[in-house]
């Protein structure tokens, strides 16, 4: 899987999006998106609520079909590829969903172990061991036999991460990882994301609107602008704060305080 140095594969970006247009029926969500995600970076997709961030993520992981344009992983076409190619690419993903999406009829160990049972020849005892390891990595050692409904929301998110990294994926997708968590739990999750990038060497795509997370972990980002249905800004989040001339991006990154200051209020 890992390309040898100097091969053409290693030059290709991890993810490349060309002319992607997303729509539900006649309603266009975003049109003609172009961006690349470099290897080993934490790439943030930000934007206000309802602008299509999560929809973009669903397109990236193949749950929705784009109306136009294509998505490439390491230079390999994904969008209109045959099912075998798609399956191979999907196998390199790990996805954490907004609602954690743990399978509620299974214990945490079974949740983490399911992908291992399906795609490896490990024995049940070995699978259990790996599942325990992954749970310990996210700080949930000892919770193997709990059901998802028996643990807190923050722990569910972390268990979701443990499941996402079960097969040592090369690309991790996080959909609003810190939404609904208290500041401490959010911070812990941010640290976990940084740790995963450094230890697994994974490329990480995070969809979020939490400013603290964006500034803490983002290497690169795009801002989806609901008004123009396109990318409003791109770059390193901290540099973007000083450079952008798009008022909506500035407003987003400063929690709208520029407007409040102009109004002379609050």
């Amino acid at each position: 899987m890992r390309p040898s140095p100097g091969s053409t594969e290693s030059i290709a970006p991890e993810i490349e999006v060309r002319g992607l247009t997303m729509a539900f029926g006649p309603r266009i969500i975003m049109r003609d998106l172009n961006f690349t995600v470099a290897r080993h970076e934490i790439f943030i997709v930000m934007g206000s609520s309802g602008c299509g961030k999560s929809t973009l993520l669903r397109h990236l992981v193949g749950l929705e079909e784009p109306v136009a344009g294509e998505i490439l992983f390491r230079g390999e076409g994904f969008t209109r590829a045959d099912s075998a190619t798609r399956e191979n690419i999907i196998r390199r993903f790990g996805v954490l969903y907004q609602s954690s999406a743990l399978w509620s009829s299974m214990t945490l160990a079974e949740n983490v172990g399911l992908p291992l049972a399906q795609f490896t020849d490990l024995s049940p005892a070995e699978i259990r061991e790996i599942a325990s390891l992954k749970l310990a990595l996210v700080g949930l050692g000892g919770f193997e036999d709990y059901y998802p409904s028996e643990i807190s929301g923050g722990m569910q998110k972390r268990a979701g991460v443990a499941r996402a990294i079960a097969l040592d994926p090369e690309i991790l997708f996080f959909d609003e990882p810190t939404a609904g968590l208290d500041p401490t739990a959010s911070r812990l999750l941010d640290d976990l994301i940084l740790e995963l990038r450094d230890s697994l060497g994974a490329t990480i795509v995070v969809v979020t609107h939490e400013l603290a997370s964006i500034f803490a972990i983002g290497d690169n980002c795009i801002f989806l602008d609901r008004e123009t249905r396109s990318i409003g800004a791109r770059g390193h989040p901290k540099e973007l704060l000083g450079q952008t001339d798009n008022p909506r991006v500035r407003e987003f990154l400063t929690r709208g305080s520029t407007r409040a200051a102009a109004d002379g209020g609050l």
Binding site: E87, R91, F93, Y97, L102, W103, S104, L114, P115, Q118
Partner: protein, 392 residues
């Protein structure tokens, strides 16, 4: 004058609540109107609306200035905010200057919030369509729905093919759970319904057949009807309401919590993982349940025969065995297998097509039961024709 919140509270505490809301209108000169508010404005005292003042505001000569005066206002709640918001809207629409300066500051702020321009720039389209357009849309949506249903059936067929070759990815424990839930757990309700249906058929038949002194033929009637049709159909209806609805609700809520998406992005086919064990489980259990329902239904008939018609159990059973042909029995079991497939697919399909809310899960469960029962009845009719042609 603006009241400080604390002072206002203190004042309210001492307000005599019987001091009802007052509204006086005074026309000082031809283009000046003064509205005097007084007393206690409370929702439970009733809600005066600004529309009542509309005739006075827009009748000619139309006032150019309206002043709201509130020196005798004692206390207020949303009823006054609503009244003033309505008044503001009327005045804005007819270019009348409205002076609310004498109102309490908090009240003015609420009125401003209520009348400020809405954030939503493109309001939801509420065009009224003609009957023809709506009918056309409905038909197109139904056709599209049918196409996705056919698509789904095809995917399930492929997945079942994989399963028969031992290549489908699903957990054996899931299959066992479906066998338990749609087999052993359903015995109670199947017993009750089949026994009662047997009694009813025997009773209906007995009333007629006794007139000809042919009471013993009640056994034939119950046996043939149960084995050929009613056993399979009643089991199908019960399982549609019990298991089909459960499938739709389980898969629907898994859709809402993105658990199905999680399977898909894990490279595991949700159809193989979730639908195959459910279809297989129900299809394996349906003929067994049907056979059991046949037996219990005949027992129900025998109960009537023995207790009401004075037949012996032995003669009733002899007559029953003579009436049942193997082909009828096999036909009933074939039908029950087909009903099992239809119910399981209807339930799973509705679950997969479920929307993103908790009410959508309820709708999916309802649709699963309705579609399941409709398909059972349609299939029953088709079987009648086919068996007739085959000479069964």
């Amino acid at each position: 004058m603006a009241l400080r919140p604390v002072a206002e509270k203190w004042l309210e505490a001492r307000v005599n609540e019987t001091d009802l809301a007052g509204l006086e209108i005074e026309r000082s000169d031809s283009n000046q109107l003064v509205i005097r508010l007084s007393g206690v404005w409370r929702l439970h005292h009733g809600m005066p609306t600004a529309n009542r003042l509309k005739p006075q505001l827009i009748s000619s000569p139309r006032p150019s200035h309206v002043t709201v005066e509130a020196s005798r206002l004692r206390a207020w709640d949303s009823s006054l905010v609503n009244f003033l918001a309505g008044l503001t809207r009327i005045c804005n629409a007819h270019q009348i200057l409205l002076d609310r300066a004498s109102l309490p500051e908090g009240l003015n702020r609420l009125v401003e919030l209520a009348t400020s321009a809405p954030e939503l720039k493109e309001p939801r389209a509420t065009t009224t369509e003609t009957l023809l357009t709506r009918a056309g849309r409905t038909v197109l949506a139904r056709l599209e729905g049918f196409a996705t249903y056919v698509d789904f059936v095809g995917l399930v067929a492929l997945a079942l093919g994989n399963a028969l070759r031992g290549r489908a990815r699903f957990r054996k424990i899931d299959l066992l759970e479906v066998l338990q839930a749609s087999g052993a757990d359903a015995l109670g309700i199947v017993t009750l319904i089949s026994y009662l249906v047997g009694i009813i058929m025997a009773f209906m038949g007995a009333v007629q057949l006794q007139q000809f002194g042919a009471a013993i033929y009640v056994a034939d009637l119950v046996a043939i009807a149960t084995v050929r049709e009613m056993g399979a159909m009643m089991t199908g209806v019960i399982m549609s309401g019990r298991t089909g609805a459960a499938f739709a609700a389980q898969l629907g809520s898994m859709k809402v919590t993105q658990e199905i998406d999680a399977l898909a992005t894990m490279g595991i086919s949700p159809i193989e993982f979730l639908v195959v064990p459910r279809v297989l489980g129900l299809v394996l259990m349906m003929p067994l349940l049907c056979l059991y329902a046949d037996f219990v239904g005949i027992l129900g008939g025998a109960t009537v025969g023995v207790t009401m018609l004075g037949l012996t159990l032995n003669s009733y059973m002899q007559q029953t065995i003579g009436a049942i042909w193997v082909s009828s029995l096999v036909g009933g079991l074939v039908k029950s297998v087909a009903y099992g497939v239809l119910i399981a697919i209807a339930g799973c399909y509705q679950g997969f097509e479920c929307g993103q809310s908790s009410s959508a899960v309820g709708e999916a469960a309802t649709a699963a039961v309705v579609n399941g029962i409709v398909m059972i009845v349609v299939a029953c009719g088709l079987f009648a024709v086919i068996f007739n042609l085959l000479g069964f």
